[in-house]
């Protein structure tokens, strides 16, 4: 069932990862032993109904959460129980995030929002500005750089969020239901943008979605059900 990339070293590998919330009688098994390999340059869609564990898995992959048990290997390095600071640094230097709710800083210009991750990387302000404008250009919002989120449409806000995620040229881009709050037309624009990033910039993308339409943009679809991987298959080229 696993896709055929086993010839090279995976970028991300999960081995028997479980996640249990609560203890004893109240224990909730969100993940019941996940094995997953993601290779460089892939565009993976993670699908599944609510409560299937796809978001939990995403949070673990994104180092926002730690597994209860199992092994997580990132770039060939086994990262077990990281401290908060260690996972923060991992996120800072290797990972990019796009959320369903855009999560931009309100009353802050698009440019400043995009600059934010670079501030935590201690990039000089002149370089920071240049790179942020480049990222906004990639998502086609260069002209909107001084607008605040409230002055932008939902689609535009999500583009700013994508610009913020890619401005650091992360190793992996995690997108959690990036089109969840958008209408169909806007959703397809965002998906086109993600596809372009994957194709033209070799960006590895892991995207959680529950819409089949959106998943079909990815090269590969992993389906979750009840905390397990139900299926994992390559998509036809769209």
């Amino acid at each position: 069932m696993t896709a055929n990339y086993s010839d090279s070293q995976p970028l991300i590998e999960l081995q028997g990862v479980t996640k249990v919330y609560g203890i004893g009688q109240a224990a909730m098994h969100a993940l019941r032993g996940i094995d997953l390999r993601i290779y460089e340059g892939e565009f993976v869609a993670v699908m599944g109904p609510s409560g299937s564990g796809k978001s939990t898995c995403m949070n673990i992959l994104g180092c926002l959460d730690t597994p209860t048990d199992g092994i997580y290997i990132f770039k060939g390095v086994k990262i077990g129980q990281l401290t908060r600071s260690q996972s923060a640094l991992l996120r800072r230097y290797y990972l990019g995030f796009v959320f369903q709710g855009y999560n931009l800083l309100s009353r802050t210009s698009a440019l400043e929002n995009v600059e934010l991750p670079l501030i935590y990387r201690h990039v000089r302000s002149s370089v920071r500005r240049k790179e942020a404008i480049e990222a906004l250009e990639v998502v086609g919002l260069k002209e909107w750089k001084s607008h605040t989120p409230s002055e932008l449409s939902g689609g535009q806000q999500q583009r700013v969020a994508i610009a913020r995620a890619i401005v650091t040229r992360p190793t992996v881009l995690f997108a959690d239901e990036p089109t969840g709050n958008l209408d169909t037309a806007k959703s397809h624009e965002i998906m086109d943008l993600l596809t372009a990033l994957n194709r033209n910039h070799d960006m590895t993308i892991v995207m959680v979605t529950h819409e089949k339409d959106m998943a079909s943009y990815a090269k590969r679809t992993v389906r979750f059900l009840d905390g397990m991987v139900e299926s994992d298959e390559k998509n036809g080229v769209k």
Binding site: L64, D65, L89, R92, F97, N103, S106, L116
Partner: protein, 401 residues
């Protein structure tokens, strides 16, 4: 990084100007009140200290009556000039004794009219009260012996009657007594009790007794003890001498009083300082309240900005970076409050010192202390909210609505 954190804090404060102003109001009032209290108190203390220095060293006052306060005139026996002579002769280490009898009277010159205090004494009075004559001369022995109609006036009287001109040898009228001005005293300002010491006319004691009081009584003696000698001993000796001269039996209470002016002044300084400390302490409490206000608003701010904190943490901000962000914000807020408080306090105490007639004493150390204290209030009361922000779970924070 520190610079960008500071800019971030400033921007966050500017974003909510109204709330920021209200937040720091407590600190503004606290710092302002403390500095004003200390400045005014310091001015009052300095004033009292100056007056002690100008009062003439080791001054004792011998007054009739049982004690200080009301009720000393009715059954008390007044002094005679000979009592003063006896003190000078029989008590060791006395530098000078000045008899003093005085009365409030109307002084008239031309069409000018001024109510002042007329004191009958002799040249020892100037020595004991540590005053010098600015223009003119003091009394001659013959004037003192004969009870001549001459007087030495204070600066205030000179201003009121002569319009500030030094009109020596002119005659002024003290009710029915017309007397010649032979000297003008060096200005001395207010005394410890807030009385104008320059509002005075001094005439020879004999003139006073004959022409004004009509008897041979002396209201009190001002005694100056020799430099370096014990005022306590002099005080005790004078008491014994006066008891003897007044034929008091051992069981009788004193029917006169010997007071050490320096002690009284020192007591006044002590009281002023204690009041300053007390009022400052009360004012400092408002600093504490101001700190709690800052903590309150910072907690609200942290809750309001939960999503922002979530974004920052998800992007890779370290716990201590988020902690610093909020801590710096609290410190900047409270320091702003401190600065505004300092400016207001300086203006306020400058105006107040003018109104209360105390010197404006600029105290740099209290300003530095108050500023550091306000910053410290920010650190102390900003730490808990900042820690709350830093300890957030990024997933939870991002989900927060």
């Amino acid at each position: 990084m520190i610079w960008s954190t500071l800019l971030l804090a400033l921007r966050e404060i500017r974003r909510n100007v109204m709330r920021s102003v209200l937040t720091i109001l407590g600190i503004v009032i606290g710092v302002g009140a403390v500095i004003t209290m200390v400045t005014i108190g310091g001015g009052a203390t300095a004033q009292v200290r100056d007056q002690i220095a100008s009062m003439g060293s080791n001054l004792l006052m011998v007054t009739p009556g049982k004690r200080l306060g009301p009720g000393h005139s009715s059954d008390s026996v007044l002094f005679k000039a000979s009592d003063g002579e006896a003190i000078l002769k029989d008590v060791n280490s006395i530098a000078a004794v000045a008899p003093v009898s005085s009365k409030n009277m109307q002084a008239v010159f031309g069409n000018q009219n001024w109510s002042t205090r007329v004191t009958g004494s002799d040249n020892q009075y100037f020595r004991v009260t540590n005053r010098s004559i600015r223009v003119g001369r003091q009394f001659t022995d013959s004037e003192l012996r004969a009870g001549a109609a001459v007087c030495v006036i204070g600066e205030t009287v000179c201003k009121k009657l002569f319009g500030g001109h030094e009109l020596l040898n002119e005659n002024i009228r003290l009710e029915k007594l017309s007397c010649q001005v032979i000297g003008i005293l060096e200005a001395k300002g207010q005394n410890t009790m807030g009385m104008d010491q320059d509002d005075i006319v001094v005439i020879p004691l004999r003139t006073y007794q004959r022409r004004i009081s009509g008897n041979k009584d002396v209201s009190m003696f001002q005694v100056s003890v020799q430099e370096g000698a014990s005022t306590e001993k002099a005080e005790r000796d004078i008491r014994l001498l006066m008891r003897e001269r007044r034929h008091l039996s051992p069981s009788d209470d004193d029917n006169f009083n010997v007071m050490d002016m320096k002690e009284i002044a020192k007591m006044l300084t002590g009281t002023t300082q204690m009041l300053t400390a007390l009022l400052s302490a009360v004012a400092a409490v408002s600093l504490l309240v101001g700190g709690i206000g800052i903590m309150n608003i910072m907690l609200v701010s942290v809750t309001e900005r939960t999503r922002e904190i979530g974004i920052r943490l998800a992007i890779g901000a370290l716990e201590r970076e988020v902690l610093m962000q909020f801590l710096v914000e609290a410190v900047v807020l409270s320091s702003f409050g401190g600065l505004i408080g300092i400016v207001l306090a300086l203006i306020g105490s400058f105006i107040l010192s003018g109104m209360l007639n105390v010197p404006f004493v600029f105290n740099a150390s209290i300003i530095v202390i108050a500023f550091l204290f306000s910053a410290a209030v920010g650190v102390i009361f900003g730490y808990f909210p900042a820690l709350k922000a830093a300890r957030m779970d990024p997933i939870e924070a991002l989900r927060h609505e």
